[in-house]
Amino acid sequence: MTTVVLLDKDSFPMLISPPFLPKRNENESDEAYVRRSMTGDAPGAGAFPVSFQNRWHGGLHLTPPFEHNVDLEIRAIADGVLVHRGDISTKSDDPNHPLNYGGGWTSDGCIVLKHSTEIGEGENGKVEFYSIYHHLRHMPPAILAMKIGQKVWRKDPIGSAGYINDKPCFFHFEIIADDANARKLMGRIQGDVPLGGDGRQDACYGDMHFYLPASTTFSDLPTNPHGVRPTPRDVAGPGVALFVSMHFENGHCTMTTYREDGTIVGTTKDDELPGAAYEYQLYETATKLYPQQPAAGFELLRFGRVLGTADTLTPANAQHWRKVALPGGKLWVNLNGTGVVKLSDADFPHWLGWRMVDASHGDLRCKDEETLALLAPDVPTVEINRISDGATAEANAQAISLDVLRKQRLARTAAKFLTDWDYTTFERRLGWLKNPEPDGRGMNDASFARLQKHSQAVSFWTRENLGMDSIPWHFEPREFIIHFKKCRWLSENELTQMLPTSAMRLAKGQWVSELVLVSQATQSDLKSRRTELNKSLRKYGIASSPWRTAAFFGNATVETQWFDKLYEDNKSAWYHPWDGRGFLQLTGPDNYIKYWRFRGRTISESTKGELRAAAKKAHSELKNDALQDMRLPNLTAQMVQWRNDIEREPFDISQSAGAYWAWSGAATFADELPSLKRETEAVGHVSRAYYSCVSFGQVAATVNFGSPVHDVGKIAKVNGIVARYQAYSHALTVLTDRLAFPDMHGQPQDTPEDHKPRRT
C-alpha cells in the first residue's frame, strides 16, 4: 500500500532496488537478482543506449516476471517524490489514434519520480536523479490519488506494464540526471578516470581498485601468513600497466587483475592461504601488521588507503602486500607502493567498461564511432556448444570474453542526448527522418506527421515539471541499480526508518508493546552523527550487505534506547563510570583500552592491570567504588577525556561500535542468510508476533556478552532480545528488496506481521 505524506526537502537514502521484485533465489547475488528481475530489451527493440534505426534510446523496455500466475507490479526503485503522472488513455481500435502507431497500441500511463539522495559526504555526495516509468496500462488508486510533490517510497507499487507498439506487458524504464548530478554520480562527465592520483574520497564504496603502473615491482615470496609481512624480494613484473580489483564478500577477499582493455588476467582468493577468511581476520591482521596505528592500518586493508584524517598511517608508507594474478603467474605486490593509484567503484573505472558519451549537440542518430563499433562488432558472437578441440575452445572463449566486454561497455555507457519525451524538440530530434537517406531510413510527409502526433501523445517533459532542460544524461537502468546497490550510504531519513515503530518488553513479568517515538532532539542528534556513522559502517564492512547492516541496527537501536542514549550513565551499575558508550555501548575498562590501543594510543600494561583489578573488585562487591576515577592513580585526565569522547565525539561514538563489531566477530554470524521463525507473546489479551532468528541472535549475544557466542542456548539471556528481533526484522524490511516472513499459517509474506513502516 502506498503511503502519502507531504513533500519535504530532506534527501532519501541511497537504497535502490529493481522495478520488479520477484522472489529471491537462495544465495543469489544482488547483481544476479537485478539482472533476472529486469529482462525484455533487445537490440533494435528497446535496448540501451541505442535502439531502433541506431537512434539513441534513453531506457530499457522491460517485461515483468511472472509469479503465482500474475505479472509482477512495477515498484518505485527508491524513495522519491512524484514529479509527473501522465493519465492513462483508454485503448482504442481507431487506427488513426496517435497511440496506435508502429504496429499497434502504446500505453501512455507515465510516472516520473525525483530521487534526492546521498552517495557520500559533503555537497558532492548529495545527488538527484529521476526514474521514468512509461507506457503503463494501470496505476494503483494510491498513486492516482497522489498530488505532485508527494512522497513515494521504495518498493511501493506504482503501476502495471502496458503495451509498446502492440506488444503487451512491456514498459519503458529510464534513469536520467542533469550535468551537475551526472558529475557527482560518476565523478566526471567525460573521459577516463584520471590516474594521476587516488580516486574520490567524498564517495567511496563497492570494490576497491588499484592501478599498477608498468614500473610496478613484485615479490615472489611464496606465502604471507597474516601477521608476517614478507620481505620484498623484487621480481620483474609483466612491464605493462595492470588494474587490480579488491572484492570483499562473506568474509573472503578476491583480487581480480585486469588489463586496460577489461580482459581478466586472473584472480586470487584470500591471498591463496588455506583456510583463511581474510575479511573476518582484518582486525587481527591490522593489529599485527600495523601495531603503531591499527585503526589506520585497518583502513589500508579495507580501502587500500586511509580515507579518514583522525587516524594516520604509521609509518606513512606502511606496506600493503597482497597476492595478485599476473600474466606470468601469481606474485605479491605492495598496493601502497610508489605509483599505485587507489580508487573505488565510486570512480566508475573505465577499464571495467564505464564510459561517458556527450551526444547533446546532434539529433537522435547515434554518430559516436565507439558506440557504433560496440553495436556492430568485428568478431561475431560464438556459440560455445560448437567447440570441438582445444585450440578452438580457447579462441571461442576469447571471443566470448570479448563479446561480454563489448556488451558490458555498451551497458556501462552514460550518454547525454535529447530526451524522447520533450515534444518541443521533436523536429530537432527526428526531423532528419523527413529526408530519405540511402539506407532507406526516410519517411514521407504523412508518415512523418503520424510519428509527430504519436510523439506528442507520449511526451510529457516541461522544464517546470522536471526542473532540468531536456538534454539529460541517460544511464542504463540495470547497471545503474546494480552499481548503486553497492553504495548504502544512509541518509538521515534512512537512519530514522531503521527504528521499529513498536517494540515489546517485559514489565514486571508481563509483556507490553510500546510505540517507539523519535523526538526532535533524537532526530537532530542522528543528523549530526550520520556522517561518522556511515564512515564507520563502511570501514568495518557493516554496510556491505543488508544482513550485516540490519544486524548492526537490530542491536544498536536497542542498546541506545532507540538512539536516545549514547551513554548508559547508570550510576548504580557496578561498572560505572566504565558503562556503555557509543552506538554499541562499549562497556568495561578492558574494552575501552582495547579500542584506544586500536587507535594507536599507548596504555601501559600496569594501567590496564590496575583497571582490570578494580573492575574485578567492583564486580565482586557489586558496587562501583573501586572503579571511581579518584581511586585509580594510573588513570590520567587524558584517558578520562578519551572515555568521554566515546559518548561525545561522533567519530568515537561510531568507530567504537565498528571496532567492537570487528573484534567480536559479529559478521561471521550476520553473514548467514536469516531464517526467520514466527513466535508470539501475549500482550494483555492479544497475541503479538515477532520473528526470532538464530544467526541474528548470535550477533546479539556476541554484542551483548562481548565475544563470539556459538552456544545458541545463550541467546535467550540477551538483554531485550525480543526487541532486538523486532528491530532486526524491521531493519531487514527497510534494507532488503524482498524477504519472506511466515504468517500464522506458515505462508510467506513480504513484511513482518503487523509491520508498520516508519515514514517521516
Binding site: L6, A503, L515, T531, R648
Partner: protein, 212 residues
C-alpha cells in the same frame, strides 16, 4: 570588579534557581566559555562548573557542554548539551526541531512533528543578546518507567549564525522537581554570538526570526 560581579551574579542565581534544587544549592563561580566549531562561534556563561569543548575528530564538528548541574538531586544525572551549527537556514533549522514562528509566538510545526499527547511537548521562547530562539521539550514514552526522561531541543538565531542543540535528559519523569530546564535555559540565554555582525544592516522587517 569582575570578581565582585561574579559573586553577585552567583549569589543571585542561587536565590533565583533554588526551587529547582532538592538539597543545599551548590555555588559555582561564573566561567565564560568560548567555542568555535563548523562556522559558529559564541561564548556562554557557565554557572555550574561545566566544560564546553568543540569536538576534535568528527565531521561535522560539534560542541559539547557537560556539567553536573544538580548533583544533590534525589536521582542525579549529568547535563550534556550538544551544539551544532545549522547551515541550511533559519526556517529549516527550526522546522527540524519541530517549531515555527507564527504571528508573535513560537508554535509546534505540525508538518514536521506530530507528537502524541503523552509526549507532553512544551515550547519555551528563548531570548539572548541580539538573538532569538526557542526550545522544545518532550517526554519519552517507552522503556522502563523509572528511567524515562524528558529531552530538550532548541535553536537560536543570530544575524548570521544559527545554532541548534539537544539535551537528551533534562529530567527523570519520576522526579519533576529535579528538572534542569530552568538552568539549561539560563545557560542558553547567556550565549553571545561572536563575529556575528550582519554583512549588511538588516531591516527589521527582513530579519527573520532574529528580529522578533
Amino acid at each position: 570588579m569582575t570578581n565582585i560581579r561574579r559573586i553577585l551574579v552567583s549569589a543571585l542565581l542561587c536565590g533565583t534557581t533554588s526551587a529547582a534544587y532538592t538539597g543545599t544549592p551548590v555555588t559555582y563561580s561564573i566561567t565564560v566559555h568560548e567555542v568555535a566549531f563548523d562556522g559558529c562561534h559564541f561564548s556562554m556563561k557557565d554557572f555550574y562548573g561545566g566544560t564546553l569543548q568543540s569536538t576534535r575528530e568528527s565531521t561535522p564538528a560539534l560542541a559539547n557542554y557537560n556539567a553536573e548541574i544538580n548533583p544533590k538531586a534525589h536521582h542525579s544525572f549529568g547535563t550534556w548539551i550538544r551544539f551544532y551549527c545549522e547551515k541550511e537556514g533559519v526556517e529549516k533549522a527550526f522546522k527540524g526541531m519541530g517549531m515555527k514562528y507564527l504571528g508573535s509566538r513560537w508554535v509546534l510545526d505540525k508538518e514536521s512533528y506530530s507528537p502524541l499527547p503523552e509526549e507532553h511537548v512544551a515550547i519555551y521562547p528563548l531570548r539572548g543578546n541580539s538573538w532569538n530562539g526557542a526550545g522544545l521539550s518532550s517526554d519519552q514514552t517507552s522503556g522502563d518507567e523509572d528511567q524515562r526522561m524528558r529531552n530538550f531541543g532548541f535553536c537560536i538565531s543570530g544575524a548570521k549564525q544559527v545554532v541548534c542543540g539537544t539535551i537528551q535528559q533534562v529530567m527523570f519523569l519520576k522526579s519533576p522537581k529535579d528538572s534542569t530546564i530552568p538552568q539549561v535555559i539560563q545557560l542558553l540565554q547567556s550565549i553571545e554570538f561572536i563575529d556575528d555582525a550582519p554583512d549588511v544592516p538588516i531591516e527589521p522587517s527582513k530579519a527573520s526570526v532574529s528580529s522578533h
